[in-house]
């Protein structure tokens, strides 16, 4: 074991980032934090009074469409192309004979813009070589670019969300092809927002504590073309008792003293975890834990048989909080990329479930493993708040999980 090898591993662990300075963004944040306390009361009152569309969707700027992209954005597309070429070379080396898409950066132009408390969010597009399009989402120095992987595309509606680290909320953006003129998003708090489709792309904003339950594309006459959805109307449509059942994990479990001699466990204890976890269940040798923290909160974890520390993967308190009506499933499945993976486009599309397991709230009766068309492949009952595929091989086409209540209604979906 040489120092050089260690250096090589460290180098690969966090590759040098491609960053663009955004000093204006720094100054904006500095000013915003000063103002935040002063306006928080007024903002809370305004949220109650403003019409839903404004609160959910931000304000879309129509001046932006068709505006030629500035050099910095064109350069971002150029960098994206270079990254794609590197990926192509890597794929070829790994035996994947696939060409990655390339954007025509010189023809990049504006498509949609949203004004938000984090600053403007821009969606730029550029034609893709060979047909189709590429697009780039920009918020300050954060950018995310993607392209149609094939053209004509077999996908009619695709979308992704991001924004866990933003203060103003989350964003949904994606592509609706064919005759789609608008996209309607039903949110988990029962609200609905309608987004225009421009050049096959759409973008909208929604609050942090909710997630989309259904995304549907409509043509200009209002005909529903295609939809991905869960519980119509959102969990807000459930009775208070049903919502409460999605907000608790009642299995008492058994105390599980963590092996304090293990370095990882010592690291956990130093990080604020209690010395004794709660073992909720063991499935096919895999243990599922609740991990109380000294501050009274809990995280959840899982560990394979034979792991000295007992716990291998820990999922902390996320947004929305687990367990809650908006987040009744804490999935700890193992996923891997497939040969047809489209992870360059939307991180979750094309990922394959290798093993399915996790923690579910009381109100979840089963977890259904589904394929891309929404067909059920595997039905996993929830017992002791745990679901697990055990030794059953997860079918190759599995790409999503639906959490269903006892009445068979889908109350949550992974990926969201």
């Amino acid at each position: 074991m040489t120092e050089a090898y260690l250096d090589e591993l460290l180098e690969g662990l966090v590759p040098p980032p491609v960053v663009r300075a955004d000093w204006e963004g720094v100054l904006r944040r500095a000013r915003r934090t000063r103002r935040r306390y002063a306006i928080v009361g007024a903002f809370a009152a305004a949220l109650v009074m403003v019409p839903t569309a404004v609160a959910l969707g931000g304000r879309i700027a129509d001046w932006f469409e068709g505006k030629p992209a500035p050099p910095a954005v064109r350069q971002d597309f150029v960098q994206f192309n270079a990254a794609m070429q590197r990926m192509s070379a890597y794929l070829a080396k790994s035996g994947f004979a696939r060409k990655t898409p390339q954007a025509i950066a010189a023809r990049a132009h504006g498509v949609l813009a949203l004004r938000t408390a984090d600053g403007p969010v821009y969606l730029w597009a550029a034609p893709r070589r060979g047909g189709g399009s590429c697009w780039l989402l920009q918020l300050g120095s954060l950018t995310n670019a993607a392209c149609d992987q094939t053209w004509p595309s077999s996908e009619r509606l695709t979308f992704s969300t991001f924004g866990g680290t933003l203060i103003s909320g989350q964003f949904i953006y994606g592509q609706a092809l064919g005759a789609a003129a608008s996209v309607v998003v039903n949110l988990s708090d029962g609200e609905t927002t309608k987004l225009p489709v421009v050049e096959g792309l759409f973008m909208g904003a929604f609050p942090k504590h909710v997630h989309p339950l259904e995304v549907a594309a409509y043509d200009a006459s209002g005909k529903r073309l295609v939809a991905f959805g869960t519980l119509a109307g959102g969990t807000a449509q459930l009775s208070p008792a049903e919502r409460r059942a999605l907000s608790r994990v009642s299995t008492r479990g058994t105390p599980y003293p963590l092996p304090v001699g293990d370095p990882f466990v010592r690291h956990l204890i130093a990080g604020g975890y209690e010395r004794t976890a709660v073992l909720l269940a063991t499935r096919a040798g895999r243990k599922y834990f609740r991990l109380p923290l000294t501050n009274g909160l809990s995280a959840y974890g899982t560990g394979r048989a034979g792991l000295p520390s007992g716990v291998g993967l820990i999922v902390g308190d996320g947004t929305p909080r687990f367990p809650s009506a908006d987040n009744p499933l804490l999935d700890m499945s193992t996923v891997g990329a497939t040969r047809n993976s489209r992870t360059m486009r939307f991180l979750h599309v094309g990922m394959r479930f290798l093993h399915v397991g996790g923690i579910a709230a009381d109100g979840v009766a089963r977890v259904v493993v589904k394929d891309r068309e929404g067909r059920g492949l595997l039905w996993l009952p929830v017992r002791d708040n745990v679901y697990d595929s055990g030794t059953t091989r997860v079918p190759a086409g599995a790409v999503q999980l639906d959490a269903q209540d006892a009445k068979g209604r889908t109350v949550a979906r992974v990926p969201r």
Partner: protein, 152 residues
């Protein structure tokens, strides 16, 4: 010290700040966000900088705190999500979970930001001697773990 000094430092070292913050936060986006937040804090609190040490070390301290906070706020992923075991050559996984938080931070600041011991010490509020010893222990722990993994 003015915000111009901070801007110069930001523009000169942004990639280093983002890389080290990403390592500490455990996520590239969180790391970048932490750097933006840290510099915003530095701009707001610039009058508190007394000039008794290098400006860069003062800013690094804020960046490290912001990245640490971000990691805690967004939960702890203690072990990389596994992929198909057969795809992973032995020894490829760097067992950072064996290191303490301080050891990891010293390692990241030294490796990803290329900081000298004095700056790391000032950023983490420890002595330069402790930096050297911590770094040495961290590297030895990783070397031993990797050697065992390859041998096993």
């Amino acid at each position: 010290m003015t915000s111009d000094d901070l801007e110069l430092l930001y523009r000169a070292k942004l990639a280093d700040f983002c890389r080290a913050a990403a390592a500490i936060a455990g996520d590239a986006e969180l790391g970048r966000d932490s750097v933006q937040d840290a510099f915003a804090r530095a701009v707001r609190k610039r009058r508190r900088y007394r000039g008794d040490g290098p400006l860069e070390a003062w800013v690094w301290r804020i960046v490290v705190n912001a990245a640490r906070d971000a990691r805690r706020r967004h939960g702890v992923v203690a072990e990389p999500v596994e992929t198909e075991a057969s795809d992973a050559p032995p020894g490829e996984h760097l067992p950072l979970e064996l290191l303490t938080e301080r050891q990891r931070e010293v390692l990241f600041l030294h490796y990803y930001a290329d900081l000298d011991y004095a700056t790391i010490a000032a950023a983490l509020g420890i002595s330069p001697g402790t930096v050297g010893a911590t770094l040495s222990t961290a590297r030895r722990t990783l070397r031993q773990a990797l050697t065992q993994e390859v041998a096993g």
